[in-house]
Amino acid sequence: MTTNAASTQPRFYEQTWDLSYRHALGSTVGVFLDGLKEGKILGRICPSCSRVLVPPRSYCDRCLVETGEWKQVANEGVIEMMTIVYEGFKGLPDPPYAIAYVLLDGASTALLGYVHGLDLTDMDAATKRLAIGNRVTVHFRSEPKGDVTDYWFEPAGSAGS
């Protein structure tokens, strides 16, 4: 019998990894999520360098000490960087959507969130409205889900979502 490996048809085995996890988030995250229900963005102050870490973390990665006091920061701030996604990726939301890092007034570090409240289909206009340094305000879900998507940003002065 003669065989020819080169002439064989490609064979495939398809498999989906249906993996489920339930991650405990810790009490520092818990306080932050509780704050969202009250319309507050909370940070943690490093007792050594005085940075206000937003989102709050229980330790300062620069000073290598535990953070201490909680501090509520403003519900408005400036865009530090952003992107508008126009391509769909399997397992991620349908486009278009905008995400941005926003430095809220009173915070030392920037917070990630969706940006709603503007038309993303006009890319040139949308990217100009979300330019670095432009101001945005924080909005909160009226019926909180209990995760970080309970808040989002909108360009300051926009009519709402």
């Binding site: 999520l33 989102p55 992107t83 397992g91 570090t109 998507t149």
Partner: protein, 398 residues
């Protein structure tokens, strides 16, 4: 510590998919090429380091277990390295440590990737971010680098045409490299007119999902002397890490801006110090640097000390960094932007650096290359590996 050299390298031709071989068979292909190049066999190898990125990317649980027989590693020490996109370079650093420490004389680094077998790559990559604060958003490697690109353009006045010039250069280089995946020459207009994915990154700014194997044989100076073959010496190497929090890379207290790669600069400086390299602009002939997207190449060039911050786009527009130009040639292989088999992408950077200083790079050879640098980046722009590779052990710059 002992001197360590690269005595053999191997890489398959990178493509989108390979249906004729399994993952272990692909690792074996690369390993056999490297062993053949070194004039050695699997029996000569004392220890093996396997670069392998996150399991879910190739859908194989701990693939290092599946491949050991394919490269003759049973009965030998085997170590798997995973540093995200820096994996393939970090594996070379582990192999260097094996030999520099005096523990081993001849070590094989061998791996492969088949990224296109995952239909969910960006969803897998999303899982690296903080569970509570960031993973609920569709953060992934494309959005992360889109934000770096828009910030770089904002700070330094560059634009999408500058980014397109990187692609044009790298595709021209890749067209001369038989191992590269994307080898079609493109124009600036082709890139600018390609589909917008995550503003300002378009399809033409991105790397492909590549399949292929790569391997390298590293030896001690004593072992190299016995073989009597040309050696690409690892003269210096460095590593550094950066916070996962991109939001900490902006704002009033920023230490390393997300537009730049300051932590990578430190990694380069560590490698330069070990190598005795004091003037990157004049002492380096080739820079084979990890830049999966066009925009990344600018801040890596600057972190390597080849120019000041914000200068790379203007220099590129004036013709610098191209094959045939005066000064340092950047990514003569076409770079990660044209070939990205994630687990071994860092290995391929070091292979190209070694190939260039040994004068074996064929149509893409940089004339008179004696000193090359290589680098890789992993995670959320977090894990950095750097190398200085030379074809001699004399002081650099003399």
């Amino acid at each position: 510590m002992r001197n360590v050299g690269i005595i053999g390298v191997g890489q398959t031709d990178f493509v989108k998919t390979r249906t004729d071989v399994t993952y272990p068979e692909l690792v074996r292909e690369g390993a056999l090429l490297a062993l053949d190049d070194a004039g050695l066999t699997m029996n000569d190898i004392e220890a093996v380091v396997v670069p392998l990125a996150p399991d879910a990317l190739i859908g194989i649980g701990n693939g290092e277990r599946w491949l050991i027989e394919s490269i003759g590693a049973t009965g030998k020490p085997v170590m798997r390295v995973n540093n995200g996109g820096a994996t393939g370079a970090s594996a070379v650093e582990v192999a260097w440590t094996h030999i520099a420490s005096g523990l081993f004389d001849v070590v094989l680094v061998a791996g492969a990737d088949r990224v296109s077998e995952s239909l969910s790559a960006q969803s897998v990559l999303n899982k690296m971010w903080d569970v509570a604060y960031e993973r609920p958003y569709p953060q992934n490697t494309i959005t992360m680098l889109a934000m770096s690109a828009m910030r770089y353009n904002h700070l330094y006045g560059s634009d999408e045409r500058d980014m397109a010039r990187v692609t044009v250069k790298n595709r021209r280089h890749a067209s001369l490299n038989p191992h590269a995946h994307l080898r079609t020459i493109v124009t600036e207009e082709d890139v600018l007119e390609s589909r917008m994915l995550s503003w300002p990154l378009k399809l033409g700014d991105l790397c492909p999902s590549s399949t292929g194997g790569a391997a390298m044989v590293l030896v001690s100076e004593e072992y190299a002397a016995r073989l009597g073959k040309p050696v690409a010496w690892i003269r210096g190497l460095g590593q550094n890490t950066e916070t996962i929090w991109m939001g900490d890379r902006v704002g009033p207290d920023v230490e390393g801006d997300h537009a730049d790669a300051d932590a990578l600069k430190v990694a380069f400086q560590r490698a330069y110090a070990q190598a005795g390299l004091t003037d990157p602009k004049s002492q380096i002939d080739v820079a084979e640097i990890y830049a999966p997207f066009s925009s990344v190449e600018f801040h890596v060039i600057e972190a390597a000390g080849l120019c000041e911050k914000g200068e790379a786009p203007g220099l590129l527009a004036q013709g610098s960094f191209h094959l045939g130009s005066d000064g340092v040639v950047v990514n003569p292989s076409g770079g990660t932007q044209c070939t990205n088999p994630i687990a071994v992408t860092g290995t391929v950077r070091v292979i190209e650096a070694a190939t260039q200083v040994l004068g074996r790079a064929g149509d893409r050879q940089v004339a008179g290359a004696n000193v090359a640098i290589a680098s890789a980046i992993g995670g959320d722009h977090q894990f950095y590996s750097t190398f200085v590779i030379a074809n001699h052990l004399d002081p650099i710059g003399l």
